[in-house]
Subunit: 192 residues, 2 copies
DNA sequence: TGCCATACGGATACGTCATCCGTTTGCGAT
DNA sequence: ATCGCAAACGGATGACGTATCCGTATGGCA
């Protein structure tokens, strides 16, 4: 079974090599905290021309999406697990914590989750899958009285992004994420 | 009593006029939804040279701060009122709702609140005032059992920014703000 | 081995930020 | 009134990033 995300099929050998190099460099730079990620410097560091970068990734958005695919797929898996959990309330809490933590660790994933559009078809599909699973989860959680009414799957997405944002708006103490996730988790419970 | 923010004292007549024009144009553009706010187009629309814009406002940050001063001062007033409220829990909730609503209505204020640094001394002072008042409010709210322990004034600032962000991450339904504010308000209550 | 579709690379056009400096102008002094 | 100069002006300019375009190079199949 081939990876769903490789896309290196049908590519000429040099093309596949360059694509991989660009992705690798971008991943390093992102991990090193360079949120700007200028395309021309990526090209330089990868030892290719700018044109080559743009051919593989028509925009920075597309590049970030490609970097985030793995994390996005894992998130969808988690969402489905949560949706099938015997205890939907617990599943939702677990998913929320997993989601915000992933976004803190992976800036690219955070960028993809917060944008409603997408440069790659694959991303749209995953977004749909995610919202579907979360929707199912929410429905069960509502029935179980674990969550207040009026909160939809997209609210969960947006609020998660907001919490991640709140963590980043600060002097970089990314450990706050658990505390802030607490606030979100408790905030969506039914009002007492 | 002179306005604290005019700053047009000591300015030559033409300088004061240009400064006002720039501010006016920037405010219009911001209200019209242009979040980019390119300095050179502001200069063009205000009928001045770019240099003039930069002399008055060394960076876009500084310009946004100047625009936000009024809203920021009103926010501090609200915070102090809340800190003196007989019911600190109610005061906190009122302040939170006021704060997020203000940020939704005023992009400049949101920008200033989310940044920890500041281009103008006035802004630093206001930020200090705000955090002081919120700190006082939180202390009283904690004593009254209206808020969980471990949440500080800066957490409130960051979480508010996060909620505002969550509202903006979407297709522009800014009305969501009340629903999302509910989540924040309930999320910082003591755990039951 | 030769062909050519595919991919490469970097020159190029464009837009924005921010600065610098020669020119203009407001305004207090005379 | 007018003079002189500090203050302010304006826009040319350089640095930087995005995105495109096209002549050149090359991988891989016949």
């Amino acid at each position: 079974m081939k990876s769903q995300t490789s896309l290196s099929d049908d590519l000429r050998a040099d093309a596949a090599r360059n694509r991989a190099r660009v992705l690798e460099v971008a991943r390093e730079r992102l991990a090193a905290g360079d949120a700007e990620l200028p395309m021309n410097t990526i090209a330089r560091d990868a030892g290719v021309g700018v044109g080559t970068v743009y051919r593989h990734f028509p925009s920075r958005e597309a590049l970030l999406e490609s970097l985030a695919m793995g994390g996005f797929e894992r998130l969808v898996v988690e969402a489905r697990k949560a949706a099938d959990d015997d205890n939907p309330g617990a599943g939702l809490e677990r998913l929320l914590r997993y989601g915000v933590r992933s976004q803190i660790e992976d800036v690219g994933l955070a960028a993809v989750l917060r944008s409603s559009g997408s440069a790659r078809a694959e991303t749209s599909r995953l977004r749909g899958d995610l919202l579907e699973a979360v929707g199912r989860l929410l429905e069960r959680a509502r029935e179980a009285g674990a969550i207040r009414p009026g909160i939809g799957a997209d609210d969960i997405r947006r609020l998660s992004c907001g919490i991640v944002y709140a963590v980043r708006v600060g002097d970089g103490d990314l450990d706050e994420i658990e505390r802030y996730a607490d606030v979100l988790v408790d905030g969506i419970r039914p009002r007492s």
